[in-house]
Subunit: 285 residues, 2 copies
């Protein structure tokens, strides 16, 4: 079994981003909209700040009260998006219950939407007209390329269809001539799909859900469960980084596996900054 | 085996559309952009004209030369879209080889995009912010509802990922908490998927590809192959309406089956006009 070293690949990507940033006239700046407070979210923000600092990108945090209304947040977000210095804007998920999430995300214009979460950015991505990829899908693609894993002639099973992992991964594979299945909590016999999968991409946020007896020998396991634990579907109670994969039993049977932490998570952060530079309006000198 | 009577359901939907149209101050008008000439396309146009007439909707055909450039077509299409009298605009597919299809489709604004093919309309649909559905997906949903076919707790296998059938169907099921697989010409063992499928939705445009021995007893077969034969992937040579399903052998084994013609085809046309009325800017008196 080979561990897919997301941390190392993230560093490689961030090195490239750093070089790109050095060549720019003006520094890109990532605006992070943060509603409410909790320790899990703060941890993710810290990771992004640290990565940004390492490549010379500015980060500007815009904190808002937990009780803010959808209309007020949308208004404030529009101002943040129109601020010229912010070359990329993300809204840290999950948002509080009272917020209409997609309406908020749609205030981000496609040329600043580095998370690819607005309807327009998703539409552009889905029709092959986006310069950037949703960060988790980009992270998985980068891993496959780095480790020479063929995914186009395999059966990929996507576990969960959340906005941060399952859905963008499905949109990506739909355009990639790949063969894939999407299974979710309503699926009657998930084990039948997992047993047949050459590649499993999991983003359900259920610690240790996938065990060795569920998979076939030599399967490739991409555990993006922790990324999804940032997402709206799993709530705010996550205290530490845990994946969907039961590491010991799966490691004994699979061919490739992403560790948690150190797998998809840091790569997703690196891809976010790669996106920021890729859609930066600043020209090279 | 029960035949899914798309023609009858289409008439029912068109009756409702007719009532809606009668209540409008101004008639909706569908603009159809037609590039080049061929008998298959003209047949599809005739079907749309006939349905439009039956419900009191005007149709305006805009013919262009087969040799038109992408830039010229985009410019002309923009004018057609901005013409106030055109409340819906579609581009008849396939377009000639030299045309950049998605760039053309993106000239249609979401509020007139009754085929849901522009990046913006697809993005809105994909994020649950569309009032209308892509016509083929809407047609399939209407059939499932009419015949009480549960698709959310089944395994749906989508054959092909073209812009008119497979892709919009996958986007729809992604948002519907359904369990589904997407297989295509590159899939190594399509028969393994077909054998397990509770519901098969086919849009590959390969006459008689699915035979009885490939499916399981009691499967539901949605044959949208002819709709896809309008699409860019299959070329212009289609002379008659044939489906992806080998009717005799499949009919002997499945539980529900759409005939060709008289299945998904006429329903898709009906859904197009349902969409036109649903996004009509005209208010009821």
């Amino acid at each position: 079994m080979i561990l897919l070293d997301g941390k190392k690949l993230a560093e490689k990507i961030l090195d490239e981003v750093k070089k790109d940033v050095a060549g720019l006239d003006e520094k890109p700046r990532l605006a992070i909209v943060l509603v409410g407070k909790n320790t899990a979210i703060e941890k993710f923000i810290e990771q992004k700040k640290k990565a940004a600092k390492s490549v010379g990108i500015d980060v500007c945090i815009y904190p808002f009260d937990q009780a803010i209304s959808t209309n007020e947040l949308r208004k404030r977000l529009s101002e943040i998006v129109h601020e010229k210095k912010n070359t990329g804007v993300i809204v840290q998920l999950p948002l509080p219950e009272q917020i209409h999430v997609q309406y908020i995300l749609n205030a981000i214009t496609p040329e600043k939407d580095v998370d690819v979460l607005s309807s327009r950015a998703i539409g552009n991505f889905s029709t092959g007209r986006s310069k950037i990829m949703p960060p988790v899908a980009g992270a998985i693609k980068a891993l496959f390329e780095e480790y020479g894993i063929d995914y186009k002639n395999k059966h990929v099973v996507i576990l969960g269809a959340g906005n941060l992992v399952g859905k963008p991964t499905a949109l990506w594979l739909l355009n990639e001539k790949a063969t894939f299945s999407v299974i979710r909590s309503s699926t009657r016999h998930p084990e039948e799909f997992l047993q047949q999968a050459d590649i499993i991409i999991s983003g359900i946020g259920k610690p240790g859900f996938i065990t060795g007896n569920m998979i076939k020998d030599g399967a490739v396991l991409i555990d993006a469960g922790t990324s999804e634990s940032e997402g709206p579907s799993t709530g705010l109670g996550v205290k530490k980084l845990v994946g969907d994969v039961d590491f010991e039993s799966v490691a004994a049977k699979c061919s490739f596996l992403t560790p948690v932490p150190g797998g998809v998570g840091p790569l997703t952060v690196a891809l976010l900054f790669k996106n920021l530079v890729a859609i930066s309006p600043h020209e090279y000198p």
